[in-house]
Symmetry: C2
Subunit: 100 residues, 2 copies
């Protein structure tokens, strides 16, 4: 399961990964930093469509996926994103407040 290192994370890849409403929703759901079971991140999104979203976010360096037994746990790579692109995650969260 490929996870780019912090230094390998590219802004253009992060933009591409975040350029989808479900993937923005995932980032917001993970914003607390807590690791969540993949089934509880965005429970309203059909599971069949999520596999591609996890991969896109993981390969871009936005999330970290950790298998444990038959379960998959997900967390936002907030430290890495904040270090590389200060303010980016805050923008995503601020937009949610503006929209609600």
């Amino acid at each position: 399961m490929l996870h780019p290192s912090r230094d390998q994370i590219q802004l253009v890849d992060v933009f591409a990964a975040l350029g989808h409403p479900v993937r923005v929703q995932i980032v917001r759901a993970l914003a607390s930093g807590e690791e969540l079971f993949c089934g509880e991140v965005v429970p309203d999104v059909p599971k069949s469509t999520l596999t591609g979203h996890w991969r896109a976010l993981r390969e871009a360096g936005v999330i970290y996926q950790r298998p444990e037994g038959r379960k998959l746990f997900i967390r936002l790579r907030r430290d890495d994103l904040d270090a590389r692109f200060p303010g980016l995650v805050e923008l995503v969260l601020a937009e949610e407040q503006a929209a609600s």
Copy 2:
């Protein structure tokens, strides 16, 4: 020629528009705020591929296109982007410095 108003610009659309190396390159080329003739923004990119990039950036609210006679002028909607998503354009420009 559709240009969303400032209030209509959506972060997810901006992310999707910026999720391509050429489109990030275009934003950097326009960062000064100066309006450029479309042929001089990214002169190393084949013109045939640019039409789709202008449209993606325009429809997301990232650039403004102004036809004048048979020419097309382009500028970054920096004021609108800074007002809606403070720090986003700076992130794009900072990454350029880090990469060079």
